[in-house]
């Protein structure tokens, strides 16, 4: 992360933090105010639920009271006392009465719960119904209580929560009447409270009915998944408290918290918008300011990178003041000093190199001069002494002088070649063609020497000066053949692909005596030779050709087992 980026972020943070703190306090104050209003609505909903439960309780009690005094029930009781009751006919009567009075629970039973007629569970007639027995023994007459009652429904006998009241009837009978607290009850409460209503069995924690009934589970899942605001739940107990101090069931009312959430969201969105604008402005300003501060430093950094890459030619140009301006000036001065030091060192190095070349050249030239001088002196002495064999001496002397002069000429030619090697003219050439051209020069190798060709198929072309590379390979081949000499051997010329065909490796390997380990580091130095009469410039020229082609020439050898010269050349891309 650049200094400029860090400075920009710092500016943005300085703008954001002071704005975020008031957002928290304002939002909290607003939330408190809205929650108070929401709580009042919830309380009102709870009162509405309690009022509806009281109304239904009164309705159930009135139903029981009206039935207890009805002529139908009095007639049934009278027939029963007189022993004229058709029990099968009586068993079905409660169902008729229940339907006519819009009740959900209706049963006529003896005090112990033995059912004479049941409307909500007609098949129970004749049996002792423990639910009715418990109602008669635990609850006073005339007051409705919430109870679970087994009731015949289209899907079978199921427990339903109902507000049930009972009244005594003449003939030692009792009538129980009730109103079920089911889906229609939940729907009515939903309409009264304007919220979601769920009736929950406290014994099993199972929802008995809910409003809205359709998709309640899906809505709950989605609001949980989407983290939508959840309304508060107000639980209103139903029925007497049990042994565990819990009511039989509860009505859970949930009022929508959408308004509350909407107000909070509006405030938060307004604050966040202002925050976003402030941060944006701070970022733009900070970016510009940081640019002014960091531009000279970035120029210095770029200059340092250039120096590290070896470019000492350019100065750092940056408008700056104060310490940064001093730093730029000091850097430029340091780079200038470094450049002049390097120039001086290079010049000294060149002088030393040429001095070495001159020393070696002088040494090479000095060697033939001695025989020439001795021959000239011998001839002069023979001539002055009038030697009779002057003619023989003359021939011998001049022959020696000629030989040494030729040797001197060869030394001068080689040096001239080394000094004036032309720049390579590159063109794509197939490695196979290079090897074939090389072998054409040795159609009949010397006796005892066998030349083997190993060229891998489908090699990429190399970008080379064909003549210079051929000269290099010829030099290596000649050296190998010469090294094996009369003992003979095998010269293996090979070409293979390297680096996923990013390069081609040529190798010339002989089975001659090899090169001593201490000579290997110097083998490419000019005027270093191990051969009698060698100039010591062949391999130096070869190494220079390889370098000028972007390649590399190297050697490995083991004394007694031959030497291998390898030339690595970059392949033509594509």
């Amino acid at each position: 992360v650049t200094l400029r980026a860090k400075l920009t972020v710092a500016f943005a943070l300085f703008a954001a933090v002071p704005m975020l703190l008031p957002l928290y306090w304002v939002n909290r104050a607003l939330s408190d105010a809205l929650s108070t209003e929401y709580g009042a609505r919830l309380e009102s909903a709870a009162r509405a639920v309690e009022g509806e439960v009281r109304r239904l309780s009164a309705e159930a009690a009135a139903g029981a009271r009206e039935l207890a005094r009805s002529p139908e029930l009095e007639g049934l009781a009278r027939d029963r006392v007189a022993g004229q009751l058709d029990v099968a006919e009586a068993a079905a009567r409660a169902k008729e009465w229940m339907g006519a009075r819009s009740l959900d629970v209706l049963a006529v039973a003896e005090p112990n719960g033995q059912v004479v007629s049941s409307g909500h569970l007609p098949g129970r007639a004749g049996d002792v119904d423990p639910e009715l027995g418990a109602l008669f023994s635990e609850s006073p007459p005339g007051a409705a209580v919430a109870r679970f009652v087994s009731r015949a429904t289209p899907s079978g006998v199921e427990p339903v929560l109902a507000l049930v009241a009972w009244e005594p009837v003449a003939g030692d009978l009792r009538v129980a009447a009730g109103i079920a607290l089911g889906p229609s009850f939940a729907e009515r409460l939903g309409a009264l409270t304007g919220g979601d209503v769920t009736l929950v069995d406290q014994g099993t924690a199972r929802p008995l009915a809910s409003y809205p009934a359709q998709g309640a589970r899906l809505r709950a899942f989605l609001s949980g998944f989407l983290r939508l605001p959840q309304g508060q739940v107000r639980s209103i107990p139903l029925g007497p408290l049990g042994h565990d101090a819990r009511p039989l069931a509860v009505v859970e009312v949930t009022l929508s918290a959408a308004g509350l959430a909407r107000a909070e969201t509006t405030v938060v969105v307004a604050f966040l918008s202002a925050l976003a604008l402030a941060v944006l402005a701070a970022t733009l300003f900070g970016h510009a300011l940081a640019g002014r501060i960091t531009r000279p430093l970035e120029a210095l950094r770029a200059g340092a990178l250039r120096v590290a890459a070896g470019d000492l030619s350019r100065k750092v140009e940056a408008r700056a003041t104060g310490e940064v301006a001093d730093l730029v000036a000091a850097f430029n001065a340091m780079v200038a000093d470094l450049a002049s030091s390097q120039a001086r060192a290079a010049a000294a190095e060149r002088v030393a190199a040429w001095r070495e070349v001159a020393r070696r050249l002088a040494h090479e030239i000095k060697n033939p001069l001695t025989p020439i001088a001795m021959s000239v002196e011998t001839l002069r002495d023979a001539l002055e002494g009038g030697r009779p064999d002057f003619k023989e001496i003359f021939d011998e002397g001049t022959t020696a002088i000629q030989q040494e002069v030729r040797r001197l000429k060869r030394i001068v030619d080689e040096f001239s070649r080394f000094a004036r090697l032309p720049a390579p003219e590159l063109a794509p050439v197939a490695p196979e063609e290079l090897v074939d051209a090389l072998l054409a020069l040795y159609p009949a190798p010397p006796s005892g020497i066998r030349i083997e060709r190993e060229v891998a198929p489908s090699l990429p072309k190399v970008n080379v000066d064909r003549d210079q590379i051929l000269q290099l390979l010829l030099n290596l081949t000649a050296n190998g053949v010469e090294a094996m000499g009369a003992t003979g051997g095998v010269l293996r010329i090979a070409a293979v692909a390297l680096d996923g065909a990013g390069a081609v490796l040529f190798s010339v390997a002989d089975t001659g005596p090899g090169i001593a380990q201490d000579q290997l580091p110097r083998i490419f130095e000019p005027y270093f030779t191990t051969k009698e009469g060698g100039t010591g410039l062949g391999l130096a020229i070869a190494e220079r050709i390889a370098t000028e082609h972007g390649g590399r020439l190297s050697v490995t050898s083991e004394v007694g087992r031959g030497a291998t010269f390898t030339l690595r050349l970059p392949a033509v891309a594509g």
């Binding site: 006919e89 098949g123 015949a152 429904t153």
Partner: protein
């Protein structure tokens, strides 16, 4: 039925018990046996029934009201007298059994005719028997002709006529059976075996009354009481083999219990045939032959069937009948009611063990038109619930119920089988056919047909096990007659009332008009 030795002893006492019951009946039904009073012809009788008859075809009539009306319009080859004996009807004499009990020769009375004047001969008898089996008829009473040779071919539509019925002459025929069945003549006394013409849709027969023209479905004649509105009105058939009936007209109307009691009190209705008693009426209970079974569909319930069956078997039927069946009824402790065993009472089944395993939630199919079945279904629902089996009651119209019952499209169903005979083997044949189809019925007949009376209880118990039906109760109707108004209402032992024998003591119409 499982205590075979006790059952054998009881069955042996059947004739004696029947005689004693009928003697008691005659004493309690003074109008029946008033000696020295000459029957009078004339007058119109209005009879209140549980429903107004709609189906007069004997091959299709199943409800009590339809069967009462069909008996008035149609005639059977044989009849059952009040003492349970057979007597000739359309036949000139009782059928002659050939050795082995597999073939019977029948001879018709001469000169028999249908209401439309067409002759009634042996060919019509053969056609009527085949009609019961033909797939197009869809008769629930195909069991009647099932024992006859060639029944399967006719039933499956591969043949039009029964190969076992040979028409020997216009009045003679030979009926060959697929299995030995000595009690086959009892089947020929059952209402579904009544002879019908080859065309007529079942409304034309050879019984004592014929459907009035214009149709009895039209409003009753002017002057008739309000109760007669919509009644089925039939008029005497002069060509009946016993001669013209006494009544000038017979109207059959469906009234509920309260309306029946009210019209009876006003004198509009002189006879009511309903389950409930009617105050100030002379009453007679018909034999309880309408057996109701809880059928368990094992094919659908698989492993749940057995726990449910055991739970059903454990239900207290005496209590069930007392509390939920209105009218005369008797708990069923075996496949057949006592009336179908000739008057003997079968020993109760041993108490069933409590059910084990989870039967899950099931549906109990019940016909919404069958009297008391909804109340009985409610009781079964509660008792099964007490035993951990949750059952939903599904009440459907009778037509839908019949189709679904035939396809066995139910988990549990309350099936009512109005048994047509008072003899065990034919009754078992009918029950097996109704509860499990023709294959089981034929197999049961093969086992029961020639079984001696001692082995009968064991065979019936075995059949009950196989049918996957728990017998619940057998219900009956009550005949309530206005004292001093009607004569000749004595039913046969099979519960059939021949209105051709009924006459009014005073010459006034049964609907209250002078």
């Amino acid at each position: 039925l499982r205590t075979d030795r006790s059952a054998v002893r009881l069955l042996g006492l059947l004739p004696l018990a029947t005689l004693a019951a009928l003697t008691a009946l005659a004493a309690a039904w003074p109008e029946l046996g008033r000696a020295g009073v000459r029957p009078r012809a004339g007058g119109e009788l209005l009879v209140a029934l549980p429903a107004t008859p709609r189906q007069l075809d004997p091959a299709l009539a199943t409800s009590a009201a339809d069967q009462i009306a069909a008996r008035a319009v149609h005639a059977t080859l044989l009849e059952v007298d009040a003492w349970g004996g057979l007597r000739p009807g359309l036949l000139a004499a009782l059928p002659e059994a050939e050795p082995g009990g597999r073939a019977f020769r029948c001879r018709l009375r001469p000169g028999l005719r249908f209401h439309d004047g067409s002759p009634l001969g042996a060919a019509e008898v053969a056609a009527s028997l085949a009609r019961l089996l033909q797939p197009t008829t869809r008769s629930p009473h195909a069991w009647v002709a099932l024992p006859i040779e060639g029944a399967e071919a006719v039933r499956t539509g591969r043949a039009g006529a029964l190969s076992g019925v040979q028409v020997l002459s216009p009045t003679e025929l030979r009926i060959a059976l697929a299995v030995p069945f000595p009690d086959f003549p009892r089947v020929l006394a059952a209402l579904p075996s009544a002879v019908v013409p080859r065309s007529g849709g079942g409304r034309i027969g050879a019984g004592p009354f014929q459907v009035a023209q214009p149709s009895a479905d039209l409003p009753a004649r002017p002057g008739a009481g309000a109760a007669a509105q919509g009644a089925l009105r039939v008029v005497p058939f002069d060509g009946h083999w016993r001669g013209r009936p006494y009544l000038d007209a017979l109207s059959l109307v469906g009234l509920d219990a309260r309306e029946a009691a009210r019209t009876f009190g006003r004198g509009e209705v002189l006879v009511a045939i309903r389950p409930e008693p009617i105050p100030q009426a002379a009453m007679l209970e018909l034999p309880a032959l309408s057996a109701t079974y809880a059928s368990v569909n094992r094919a659908r319930l698989a492993g749940r069937a057995e726990p449910v069956r055991r739970a059903l078997a454990a239900i207290n039927r005496v209590e069930l009948v007392r509390l939920f069946v209105r009218g005369p009824a008797a708990p069923l402790h075996g496949l057949l009611p006592a009336a179908a065993l000739g008057g003997g009472q079968t020993p109760p089944s041993p108490p069933a063990p409590p059910p084990s395993g989870d039967a899950g939630r099931l549906t109990l199919l019940v016909s919404s038109d069958a009297p008391f079945h909804r109340a009985v279904a409610d009781r079964l629902q509660v008792k099964l619930f007490d035993r951990g089996v949750k059952v939903a009651v599904e009440a459907v119209p009778a037509e839908v119920f019949a189709v679904r019952a035939q396809r066995k499209d139910y988990d549990l169903a309350l099936l009512e089988v109005p048994l047509q005979t008072v003899t065990p083997v034919p009754a078992a044949l009918q029950a097996a056919f109704a509860l499990d189809g023709p294959a089981t019925a034929l197999e049961s007949l093969a086992a029961l047909g020639t079984a001696d009376r001692g082995a009968l209880p064991a065979h019936l118990a075995s059949l009950e096990e196989r049918l996957d039906a728990v017998p619940l109760f057998a219900a009956a109707l009550r005949v309530s007659a206005r004292p001093g108004a009607v004569q000749g209402l004595l039913p046969g032992a099979d519960g059939g009332i021949d209105f051709g024998d009924v006459w009014l003591l005073s010459q006034r119409s049964g609907n209250g008009a002078p």
